[in-house]
Structure formats: structure tokens, C-alpha cells
Symmetry: C2
Subunit: 474 residues, 2 copies
């Protein structure tokens, strides 16, 4: 039985690095830095997250596509800002077999430059719009910094939605929809988050503006889970994506993208877990309820039979159930399923059978309840639901506790977490704050707060235009 060496409360980063392997999510021993093996349990967890994403995409009429991984250097270079943003981060294929290629190809870091030359052929008229597509793929970045499972990797399990619209306003509506998708999706992962409009100097290469989706990790650092980009016609011009309007003229499309990655899983691990291991949100846990038979002497057959009856009853309700009938003592089984974060455990022994009940244990609280067999389904559904709410609540408390709205830099220096400051709007002042706080600019809140205009920029003292958020980031 593997033992955890690190405690989340004492050394979050080491705890995280350890738990992702102990809980069988991934194997970091693959011989290329930042490229890990997804073990079956981790991949299943990720697949459940993907399933939720696909549901959201279906609901909002996005269509799944699959573009090639390799991008010709020529396509890549069409949008100047974009190549500048990514040029130092891409992997190049130069040879095939024994031959040198005539043109170099790169592995997609993201698919704008693969898709948009094709979109320009797909889109002819306003009737083809909006075009709403997405794909879930492997993408690649040449990370030179320290890598970390699910958080900073070189082969990224990546969701990217790409949409084309008749005009800026229609693209803005898409961005509203994207925000709602983030709300619904992250709620199912029990993850509270904030939107930040990224500052000009740190937006996505080629974007008109970028909204990031950030969560707060227990270490006090924020983790960017995804982003939503308004491209305007910044890409449609170089890639020549035009359409015939109803009036018969030609216009460039306006575009948006929406990206999220396996960092969703990194946040689930880091925010919900505890010293005992993972705690998985019921909506995505590969196993929602594990059933552990408690056997004494000759009761084996009987107990197993009841365990499988209970499993069947719950499976019929669409729940993901596992009966652990290995020849291992129950204590070890408890330990292992707690490590793996299974939300609920049901214990069934001969006495429970006599009493026509089961014992139900919640992973997050450890609370044990006797549940009458007649009430089983209700109780399980209710307890899963309550657990989701507790996880979300607990993470909300953390986010709130570690978010500090302050008026001066001196106040700011006293806190870790997310610092929100009044700001005059100039790059210079924000960059100075970054240096003083030794952190990064997350961006502005996306909702207006007029009251800030009564305040003064923490750096230059001039009237503030907006709030600006800073944090140490992953």
C-alpha cells in the first residue's frame, strides 16, 4: 500500500506532485519531460470531463470536427502577431524517413492556423454563418519551465472551439454564451472561478481581447483553466475568411475561440483533495459509489450477493458503481478508494443485511450513516448532491478568504492570493505592481464597478479607471 509522504496543508506543491501518481491518474516516468502517461483511472476521469464539455457543445449547436495535427510553416506565418506569440514554443518536424522535408511542419499549439485556411473555403455566404465548431485534441507546447502534471505539460489534452460570425455583435453574443458554458461546466466540477479581461500586453496572440477563466489553488497561486477570445477580424483578414452578405456585398467574418485543457483536472485535484488523497466531484468521478463487502467467516456468498443487488439497483439509476470483491482486508480497500477520491463508500456486512440497511460513508467528511435499504437510492442521490454542494462551498470560502480588495500597495503586500487594486489604466503602473508584488496581472473584472472611479491608482495616484487583479500564477 503506497504511503503519502506529503501533507496538502504543509507543502501543497509536493503533495500535488505525489498524489497525481499515487492515485493512479498518471505516470511521470515517461522518458520525455512534460509528457506523461495517462493511466486508466486518470484517463477515465478526463473522459468524464470531456463528456460534460461535449454535452455543452451539443446544447449550443457546436459541431465536433478534427483537423490535422501538423501545420505547414506557410499557413502558420500568415498572422504576424500569432507567430510572434507562439514561434518560440512550437515543435518542428523537419524529416520523414531518411528525407529532409521541403517545408517544415509544426505540431499545433492551437489550431487557428490549421483551421482558418479551410474555413475560408467552407464559408461562402451569410447562410453559412454562424459556423460553430470544436475539437478535443492533443496539442503541443515546448515548455522550458518546470513541468507539472496536468498544469504545465508539453503534450496538452486540449479543447478548442472556433466560431465565425457575420459581425462583431454576433461574436459578442457567442462570448456571452461561452461564459454561461463556463458557469455550468465549472459548477459541475465544484470549482468557483473568476473571469478576468487580460491586459493588452498579455492577451492571446492575435486576439482583440481575451477573457481568462482563473481558479485559486490552495497554495495561493491562481491557475488559468481556459480562455475566451474575441478575434474581431484579426484572423479573417490574413486568412481571407469572407462571406457574401444578404445585400450581395462581401465582408470579413468576426471570430471567437474558446479553449480549455487538462488543467481542469489539475484544479479538481488541487482544490478538492485532502491529506488522504483525491476528492472527486460526483459528476465526473469514474466511480461514484464503491461497495465494500464486510465478510465474517461463512458469510462471503451471502454478502457478495447483497452487494451485487445493491450495485445493480444503483447502476439502473445511471450511477457509476464498483463492487470491490478483492481478497484484501476492508481497511486497505477504504484507504485505496479514499486515495482515489471516490465520493461515497457503501459497506455491507452480515449485520447490515440482518438489519436491512447499509453503511454509507462520505469521502469529504468521513461521516458514516446507516441507511435503510428501502431508502437507498434516495439517500445515495441526496448524499452525492450534498457532497457536490459542500465541495463547491468549501472552494468558494477559500477563494473568498484569499481574495483581497485593497486601496494601497502597502495593504496589498500583507496578503497572498488574489489582490484587487484600483488602477489608472496604464501599462507602466500595472507592470510596476507586478514587480512590487512579485506576481502577475490577471486582468480586469469583466463586470463594471463604477465605484472604483472614486479611488486612486495604487502606483501613480491618478484617478482609477478600473480594478485590476494580481496574483502569483502557475
Amino acid at each position: 500500500m503506497p504511503e503519502t509522504k506529503f501533507k496538502k496543508s504543509e507543502d501543497f506543491n509536493e503533495w500535488y506532485n505525489e498524489i497525481v501518481e499515487l492515485a493512479d491518474l498518471c505516470d511521470k516516468r515517461y522518458p520525455i519531460k512534460g509528457m506523461n502517461v495517462w493511466r486508466p483511472y486518470g484517463w477515465k476521469l478526463m473522459s468524464h470531463v470531456d463528456k460534460l464539455i461535449r454535452q455543452e457543445m451539443d446544447k449550443t449547436n457546436h459541431q465536433e470536427v478534427m483537423f490535422p495535427l501538423l501545420i505547414p510553416e506557410k499557413s502558420f506565418q500568415k498572422e504576424a502577431d500569432h507567430i510572434e506569440g507562439f514561434g518560440s514554443e512550437v515543435f518542428w518536424i523537419t524529416h520523414a524517413g531518411q528525407n529532409e522535408l521541403e517545408e517544415r511542419w509544426l505540431l499545433r499549439p492551437t489550431s487557428e492556423t490549421a483551421m482558418y485556411p479551410v474555413f475560408s473555403q467552407w464559408i461562402r455566404s451569410h447562410a453559412d454563418l454562424p459556423l460553430k465548431t470544436y475539437q478535443i485534441v492533443n496539442s503541443f507546447r515546448y515548455e522550458t519551465k518546470q513541468t507539472r502534471a496536468f498544469i504545465r505539460v508539453r503534450e496538452i489534452h486540449f479543447f478548442e472551439a472556433h466560431t465565425c460570425h457575420v459581425d462583431f455583435n454576433d461574436a459578442e453574443c457567442q462570448i456571452e454564451q461561452d461564459k454561461q458554458i463556463a458557469d455550468r461546466l465549472l459548477k459541475k466540477l465544484c470549482l468557483p472561478f473568476i473571469f478576468n479581461k487580460r491586459p493588452e500586453w498579455d492577451k492571446f496572440a492575435g486576439a482583440f481581447y481575451t477573457i481568462s477563466i482563473d481558479v485559486l489553488m490552495p497554495s495561493g497561486r491562481t491557475l488559468q483553466l481556459g480562455s475566451i477570445h474575441q478575434y474581431k477580424d484579426n484572423f479573417s483578414k490574413p486568412y481571407d475568411i469572407t462571406y457574401e452578405t444578404e445585400e450581395g456585398t462581401h465582408a470579413h467574418c468576426h471570430q471567437t475561440t474558446y479553449g480549455m485543457s487538462e488543467r481542469l483536472l489539475g484544479a479538481v485535484v488541487g482544490i478538492h483533495g485532502d491529506d488522504t488523497g483525491l476528492i472527486l466531484p460526483p459528476d465526473v468521478s469514474p466511480i461514484q459509489v464503491v461497495i465494500v463487502p464486510i465478510i465474517f467467516k461463512d458469510t462471503r456468498e451471502k454478502v457478495f450477493t447483497v452487494c451485487h443487488e445493491v450495485a445493480e439497483q444503483l447502476t439502473d439509476k445511471g450511477l457509476r458503481i464498483h463492487v470491490d470483491q478483492r481478497d484484501v482486508n476492508p481497511g486497505n480497500k477504504f484507504y485505496e478508494w479514499e486515495l482515489k477520491g471516490v465520493p461515497l463508500r457503501i459497506e455491507i456486512g452480515p449485520r447490515d443485511i440482518s438489519n436491512n440497511q447499509v453503511v454509507l460513508v462520505s469521502r469529504d467528511t468521513g461521516e458514516k450513516k446507516n441507511i435503510a435499504r428501502d431508502d437507498l437510492i434516495n439517500a445515495v442521490e441526496l448524499n452525492l448532491d450534498e457532497m457536490s454542494q459542500r465541495l463547491l462551498k468549501r472552494a468558494e470560502v477559500l477563494l473568498k478568504e484569499k481574495t483581497h480588495i485593497v486601496d494601497t500597495l502597502d495593504e496589498a503586500k500583507e496578503y497572498d492570493g488574489i489582490i484587487q487594486l484600483p488602477w489608472c489604466g496604464t501599462d507602466r503602473c500595472a507592470l510596476e505592481v507586478e514587480e512590487i508584488l512579485d506576481g502577475n496581472t490577471l486582468g480586469e473584472p469583466i463586470t463594471n464597478d463604477e465605484s472604483v472611479t472614486e479611488k486612486k491608482c495604487v502606483t501613480c495616484g491618478k484617478p482609477a479607471k478600473t480594478w485590476m487583479r494580481f496574483a502569483k500564477t502557475y
Copy 2:
């Protein structure tokens, strides 16, 4: 409305090349040869095939994993036969950003050399065996020959199962199971096929033996859809995959793999389609029934309402239904859904509503039936089922008609398709047949047929040891 230029019966290859794009399966205009874009309809179709594969893998206790795409040259080179087999077909990454890498990495053509160094760490004792894993991934081969959508591409949508066993016999049992999986899966795709034990000189690089899964395309050429490999300990020795036996000694694992690709889709397109377009097997068709409203004057609302009632009734039964309510005349809709191969069409007009019936049309026969609303669900399920059977039957007839068991080379020369000949067992004789028939050796049937020993090798005239099959191949 796009018009088909080619007829399947007149020019199969051109018909195939045209139909994959006209039916919106893929777009071949991507600027790298042999790398096509999966359009939404094509990707959905492939996803339904993947779903069937995952069901089979679940049923047989394989676990889904995800290994990195990139393989270090050092890992790749450990198994000498393997690198010899693949060396000229792989893409090499040599640079990242502006830097040259210290070691070259290749894109997986298949994952033995990525997985097995890790398997050697996962497997410690006989209790870890069998290890049964699979993944569905993009894999890459540097094809220099003419490419063809789904059939010969450079980025391959690839299924690969990898298993490790205590000994040769246990690995053989796995291969039996793999064969049953092929039986079940290909039946759902309505594809009759033959297993061929590939000849020594053409087996998979590193394998002890290889069984191919071949179908016959209407052009008379065979298409290899997949293969099952017995590796014995050919890989476990160089990759040091050992386990502690029950007796406390150490032994090398025996391994098998099972691979299939998007060629499954190529076979579905090529074998079932007709001059009008695709004909999709009901089990994988993205839309199983399309409902087309037939509207006269003021009946629009009423007809739409009934169409959606019918759709809901069928959706509730788990069927995949689409109501086509575009403002396009019904004839054009019929044409389009026939092109896309939707198995059943339901037409509903005001008169049908009065008569409490719908019109049901089968894609393959074009037959129209009036179906009473009360009998709708039964009729749809029955007609889908009958259509599957017809598609399979028709393909079986083709396979039978184009399979020729002959005793002499002179006879053989008169036929196209699959030629089965008595053979003495020497490479020389088989290679001579290849040259004379201008075809390839598919391999031996995997079931024994003692009667062949009474026959004589078609080349050397010595007593035959086995049958050998030849065909022109894709």
C-alpha cells in the same frame, strides 16, 4: 446541390474519391498531402464506430490509456526488427522553438516502443497479469504512395490494444478473444471479412505471427482493416518486461496487440455505397432516421408539430433522429440525405396525418411503405434491422462471387478478386505467384483444411502444405 460525376459501377476509385467529400465526411483541401480534415458528419460517423470499439473493450476488460505521441529515438531503437520495419516511415521532430533538440523524437506510427518501457515498470508480479490496455489516438506514417481518404493517409485515426500475459497460451487465448471481437464489430458494420495469417516475409515488424482482417472492395482489391499480432516474448525481452511467477522465479511476458483504423470507415463507404451516395449501417449512422415534412400551403405548423411528435417518440427509444425543417424543397432534401446515406427516411404530409400514417423509405432499396402511426416504432426498428441484414448479405454475395479457389495458375489468371491456391510453403513459390498474378500474398486461412494436402503447389508442383490467398490490395 452537388452532382456526382462518377458511378460506382463504372469507376469505383473515382466514385470513392468523390463521394467522401460530397457526403461531407472529409475535406481533402488541407495543404499537407494525406492529411484530411474530418468534417462534422464524418467525425460523428467515426465516433460511432469508436463507441462500438470501446463497448467491446469494456466487455473484455481492457482499460483505456493514453500514451504520449512522441517517442524518443532511443526507446524506438531497442527492438531491431521493429525499427527496420518502420524506420523509413516515421516523422522526426528535430527542433523546438529556435533550438535543435539533443535527441530526436518521432511521431508514433504505433505505440509498442512508447508503451513497453513503461509496462516494464507497471508489471511486477503474476498478479499484475494479464495487463489489457488500449487507446484510440492519432498515429503517423510517412506514406510516399498515392494517398486516399480513410484508406491511405498520413495521420491515421488509430485503435491499438496492447496486452501482456504470463505465457504463450494465455496470449493465444487473447487472440481468440480478439477474433471474436472482430466478428461482432464487423457484423455491426455489415462487413463480411476474412482472417489471413500473413506470410513470414510480410508479418508485422517484431511479431511472431500476424493475422490480418481483410475485406473485399467492389473494385476487386482487398483492404486490410486491422491486424492481430502474437508477439511471444519478442518485445518483452528487449524492453525487459518481466514478472515474478507464483513460484518466485522471473519470466518474460508474452504479448499481443490488436490494431484497427479509420479504414473501417473506408470499407463502409466503399462496400455499401451506391451511385446515389453513401449507405450507412444503422448501428453507426449519425442519423438513423431523417424526417422530411411535406408541406402544402397552410399546413406548415401542423405538419411540423406531427414531425416533432414522431421524432420524440423515436428518440425516446434511443434512436438517432433528425427533422429536416429547412426551407428547401423535399426533392432536394431526399437527394441530400440519400447522398449522406441515412438508412431510413420518413415523409409526413397533411394526407398522412389525416390517415394517421407516415411514409417510410429505405435508403438501400428505395422501397416506400405506408406505416400506421400505431405501428411506427416496431416498423422503424424492424426496417433498420432488415436493412442491416440486407447490407451484410449483399456484401457477402460480393465476397463470395469474387473469391476463387483454383488448382492452377492458368485458372487463377482468369479471375480478379481473391484467389486461393494450393501452396508448398516456400517463399519462392508464393513470390512467383505474386509476380504472375500481379498481386499480393494475403496469407493462409486460419482454419485448417486437410484436403489441401491432396493438391499440388501451383508453382513447383510439389505436394501442397496449405492454401494461400492472393489479391490486389489497397
